[in-house]
Amino acid sequence: MSQLPRTLPGAGFWWETRASLAFVERNLYLVKRYWHLELAFLIFNVASAMSVLYIGEAQMQASGGSAAREGQLDLVLFLGIGTVVWAYLRAVFANVGEMVAWERWEGTIEYTMMAPISRLAHMLGVSLFSIIYGLARSALLLGVLSLFFSVDLSKANVAGAGIVLLAGSISFLGFGIMAAVLPLLFPERGEEMTFVISSILLLVSGVYYPISVLPDWMEPLATISPATYVLEGMRAALLEGAPTSALGPSLVPTLILGGLALPIGVAIFSWGERYAKRTGRLKRSG
């Protein structure tokens, strides 16, 4: 067998974890270099969110002004939570979902895929960055929105909302990993297909409206969307000030869906990578 001394690096848990930070560091460099794109997306997000919130404001004024709000749903806060939470979940999903597409675009896919790091560690690094990035983007969005809309969060259970949000991240990481395989299998159109997944999640999860307004045939989709439970939990914690112990009806399905989505995502990606390596699709361009 080999004449190599057995000093090959790697293969240990800590080694892999440290190596996974390469993706966090690299993506932070990319954000810095593409700052003008980040700024453009932020402006787009803020403008879209404000448009939605002004619809809520107009609706509330039409129904009798601020005096009529007592005991009623604060529509602006309802929409604001939906907008910010969706911005976070969408950022997590998109960053993980673009794991392959982005590298293909940059021409580095082959280099990264032949690097001596397990795919799990690769996914861990990308997921860590996605969560950091999603939180930063959502915090910025929230900061800007709070300058324009006064919202009352005096009753809010912020810690409980944070737990729900982090629990929801697990599912979206899983969905993102599932979506990431598409550009591997379909080099030409895979990236576009990931938009379909996020659009459907947006439609059925009650981001801007209660899911009760959906047609009957669409409601089952809402029950399997983790965003539905994340939004329910977030609204209960922030709008109603529900204690963390009362968030079980949202947290439990969120964690169950996350527990299913993550391993299924990893399994699908592994299968897709092997298929791509067998058929010669693992190339820098289509």
Partner: protein, 286 residues
Amino acid sequence: MVATLERPETQLASDTGATPAAMVEHVSKVFINRPLLRRAQVKEVRAVDDVSLTVKQGEIFGILGANGSGKSTLIRMLSTLLIPDSGRVEVFGFDVLKQEAQVKRLINRVSVEASFFKKLSPAENLAYALRLYGRSGPAVREETLAVLERLGVAREKVGEPLEQLSRGMQQKVAIARALLTSPVLLLDEPTTGLDPRSKLDVQQFVHELRDGHDATILLCTHDMSEAATLCDRVAILEMGRLVALDTVDGLKRRFGAEMGSLDPTLEEIFIHLTGRSLDDDEGDTA
């Protein structure tokens, strides 16, 4: 300051005797193109057909072949990016399928287009690569800067986007990156498309690596004089099959007589064996 391109933890044994750096044994790969319409004909391309070869440690081994001859397919199988249909591929005795993780720690590839994040600086790209290969910290950062300086990238330029460097310089950075992380370099047409000056620069750099370091290099090239100058041995592929493998002098002795020439050039031998020249060999993907 003169930098040295040192190896990471992985080191060759002082005794380079028995274990070859790379071994390819009866390897075949067929690509099947299945059209969506059932009536349309299924296309099969036999990219590599029962190829066997061995690359010794510390050797520069050239692979020559016309467009579609299977050179890149062979390199991609050694890189773990493509799964062979049959046969065995090993790197330092490690099987590319069963011991993929170990193989990945020993190889690195430089292709026609340097695989970099072009908006990131040379230093950022190298930091990412080194982290992926388990190397980080201030000492490594200093080593990276020294290597870049030695390549002619001034310290004030290391922070600028890589896209602002010439293609020749990008290729040299790519080769340096490969050598900083792995003992086996797969250079897949690294000088194709470069202007004569850059080409010479890169060739000199490869020469330096051979003379000053213990690297094993597999070089796919279109340039016959490059192969004759740099390579210890060359393999000639034609339609996926290995048609000759020897030193350049060995090939001259072997085929000179039947060609009626005492000192044929490598190009003449190539044409004699394959019946075609390499002039139209751009964009080889097979």
